[in-house]
């Protein structure tokens, strides 16, 4: 067990995370990187078929050609969300090849990946570095994984790859459509998922890149979201994903009256604060509350005759309608949440394919996230200093990945839309269980009992003067929630054992997660 040290946020974190020495979180924007980016080995066209046909017979074969061996890092993307069939096939093949102790480095995992627990148990997979929820989150939370889970944001994953903190031996990129050269796209084919941005860094920095598709088209595959020049081999399988579950994220509009109320308050805040004006930009996450926020805001934009400058995805049919109606000229999209999003990305030149590099990477020459006027996100917990948790439940169990959440906090105004309590368990606490986002970046907490504006944002408080929105001090909100719930919740006992590290957007460690007792 590694020693613990205290970082600038006051959190105790391990001094080593798996093989690497920890860089403790130093504050927002404080850590300055140096050196040069990681780069993959130089290859020669002499070693690749001149006819451009890189097809091999199976994933098994492709892994063997890539020289898979014990201890390697295998990466995948999560554009197929809960419909992914490829990750499991990779580790089944690795098991057949008798390989052990692999590190799986997905951009996110989903409940459909629960069968990989068998490979963790048997030793094929050593540990997972990527968001874990559902059964895998439970497995990690119980302290059963051999290495530490490392949770990174989408931008933080790009940063870790480009900075050489995670060196990918083999990237396996599932693609809805590809050609034999390895050019690939996500916007068409029977398993269309829109784009492949979460696999882009993997294609650029991994030693070996394997494209897996169930829709091989003759060269050239256009558009090529993944460039075949980075690809070693192409595998054709029967099915890369289950289309009915690819767009199965939290994409239903909420019917909960309380969540609708939160969404409405958040939208009214954006309007009444003056953020909603011609040329403004916004991003809303994938949850039901965020979706409903978009629908309320759209209505308010129509009423006021306001048009956005751009809107950030994840896209869904409501954003697509806004694009088609002319309420925004562009959707800058990182992932499509429904088939309308996929169609629009394919057909509409204003619907642009972005990647964690353009949108989120903190170790770049700027990124899109900080240019967004307002972003609506969720959280599992918030505290009276406006810090927030998005990965664990109050009892410390891993529940969600970070996704783009940390990266989006860079926007000009960050609103967390959360219920003030869930099923008797308060969401507003003295101190969040796991720190994922520092309070100085969180401007508004929108709950069904009113909105709390971060006292640092005097400009927003001033802008809301005269509005009939219910504003409430966060301490007052916490007191009211505790009155309803029957006092502050007891702090569940934590195990000494650290099971996962939470990385900040710059690769420093902001907090860690302990095993659940």
């Amino acid at each position: 067990m590694s020693e613990l040290i205290r970082n600038a946020a006051g959190r105790l974190i391990p001094t080593r995370i798996n093989e690497l020495e920890t860089k403790p979180y130093q504050g927002v924007g404080a850590w300055r990187p140096s050196g040069r980016k990681w780069s993959p080995p130089i290859r020669s066209a002499a070693d690749f078929p001149v006819d451009g046909n890189k097809c091999v017979s199976s994933i098994h074969d492709a892994l063997k050609r890539a020289g898979i061996r014990d201890g390697m890092t295998i990466s995948t993307h999560h554009h197929f969300r809960n419909g992914d069939l490829v990750a499991r096939a990779i580790f089944d093949a690795a098991a057949e090849l008798g390989v052990k102790d692999l590190r799986w480095f997905p951009s996110a995992s989903f409940p459909c990946h629960a069968p990989l627990i068998d490979h963790l148990e048997s030793g094929v997979i050593h540990h997972i570095e990527g968001s874990m929820n559902g059964p895998l989150g439970g497995y990690c939370s119980r302290g059963k994984m051999r290495g530490l889970g490392v949770l990174r944001s989408h931008g933080g994953r790009w940063q870790a790859i480009q900075d050489g903190e995670v060196r990918i031996d083999i990237a396996v990129l599932a693609a809805p459509t590809a050609d034999p050269f390895g050019n690939a796209t996500g916007d068409r084919g029977p398993s269309a998922c829109g784009l492949l941005g979460f696999g882009l860094a993997d294609s650029l920095f991994a030693d070996h890149v394997i494209v897996v598709t169930d829709n091989l088209v003759p060269f050239p595959c256009v558009p090529w979201q993944i460039q075949g020049n980075n690809v070693d081999s192409v595998v054709v399988v029967d099915k890369v994903g289950d289309p009915s579950r690819i767009v199965s994220g939290t994409t239903q509009i909420t019917k909960s009256p309380d969540r609708l109320l939160i969404a409405e308050y958040a939208a009214r805040f954006v309007r009444d604060s003056g953020i909603m004006r011609d040329g403004f930009s916004f991003q809303a996450g994938a949850g039901g509350t965020a979706l409903s926020f978009g629908i309320y805001l759209r209505e308010m934009m129509r009423e006021a005759g306001v048009k956005a400058g751009f809107v950030r995805g994840g896209s869904n049919r409501y954003l697509v309608e806004m694009l088609e109606e002319g309420l925004t000229p562009y959707i800058l999209d990182g992932q499509t949440f429904d088939l309308e999003g996929v169609r629009s990305m394919r057909e509409n030149p204003g619907h642009l394919n972005t990647s964690p590099f353009t949108s989120y990477n903190f170790h770049g020459k700027g990124n899109f996230a900080s240019m967004v006027d307002v972003v609506i996100l969720g959280a599992t917990e918030v505290d009276i200093d406006f810090n927030a948790n998005v990965v664990t439940h109050t009892d410390g169990r891993l529940l969600h990945g970070i996704g783009g959440w940390q990266n989006c906090l860079a926007s000009k105004c960050t609103i967390l839309a959360v219920p003030s309590f869930r099923n008797r368990v308060p969401v507003v606490l003295d101190r969040v269980t796991t720190l994922c986002g520092p309070g100085e970046l969180i401007d508004v907490i929108a709950t069904e009992r009113g909105l709390c504006i971060n006292p640092r944002r005097e400009d927003l408080i001033e802008a809301l003067r005269g509005s009939d929105l219910p504003l409430i001090e966060i301490a007052e909100l916490k007191a009211e929630v505790e009155r309803i719930c029957g006092g502050p919740p007891a702090k569940p006992a934590q195990s000494e054992q650290v099971v996962a590290a939470i990385q900040w957007v710059d690769g420093t460690t902001i907090d860690c997660v302990h095993a659940v007792k």
């Binding site: 009155r483 309803i484 919740p489 569940p492």
Partner: protein, 408 residues
Amino acid sequence: MTHDPSTRGHAGEAGSRGPRVRSDCWIRFEPAEKGGLEIELKSTAEAYYGESIDALLREGCAALGAEHGALLCEDGGAVPFVLMARLEAAIREAGLETKGDWLPPIHDPARGATRRDRFRRSRLYLPGSQPKLFLNAGLHRPDAIILDLEDSVAPAAKLASRILVRNALRQVDFMGAERMVRINQGELGLSDLEQIAPHGVDLILIPKVESAGEVQAVDGRIRELSADEVFLMPIIESARGVANATEIAGASDRNVALTIGLEDYTADIGVQRTESGEESLWARCAIVNAARAFGLQAIDSVYSDVGNVEGLRASVDEARRLGFEGKGCIHPRQIGVVHAALAPAANEVDRARRIVRAFRKAEARGLGVVSLGTRMIDPPVVKRALATVDMAIATGRLAGDWESADEE
């Protein structure tokens, strides 16, 4: 159920159980002669509130005289007043004569703020067996909430719901909404009052009223139980009730409003309820007329298609034209639509402002006659204009200080 000789009475249970239950719990209590109390608790909130739930259950058993027995609690995140209600109901269902009171403290800061003539534009129905819906009901800003003990509560849950509703009246902050309870019909309803009338209810809805006597029975029972001002709203839901609407409206000084239940009424006269509603037009007009004859508010039935906002808007608009001042709501998202549809139009507000201004001037000069330009304004027109101005202020269409602003 077989009786173990060592037990006293039989097991009682109350509440809801299962993996989908939220903000409620299920409690089973099996009394015994001796051996103390054995508590088994499973709770989704156990990590945070396990100890406090255990302490609360022990306190309740002691307060209610259930010292010996086996208590099983399956909790899906019930807040304390719900746990208390479920425990009390389980102990009572077990046939124990509960001793003493075990009541949650009174909290609602807006208690006792009701008035005879307050707005009753929207009233949100909350099934009395579903505490999950109580906690945030006030946030949606209905003029009133109705904790329902009648049709939305299954017969087996009547006793438990009565206790739950009592505790909710004491504990839940309904944020200024008038606190209404719909009791059951007949004798059951009169015994509901024992748990309801003394605990801060503002208004009792009496279901399926067909005669003045039924209203008077409720009025009399309230008088025995509480010194508070508790209003009544009879619901007429049958042909006989409509025929007797006038005597019902005049049956009690506590009456402040009269309403109609169209599902039962249309069934009673043997027709289908339609979207256009011509089958109940006469009955609804009869209700409006009877209400007005005694200075009561006429309140319309509910609109049941929650997903149909346009239909609701049209229905409220029609109700308003017939003379109704309120509508029942079965989902919080209907409230805003109802309020907007009942709000006076801009030209109505303008005209009402001019009349009210003329009335104030006449008052200031001690004149008995109000005139606007060259026209005399009759007192009932003034009265209606005052009501329109009040409504315009309440719905945000007119500033509260419009009179001083107009003078500038």
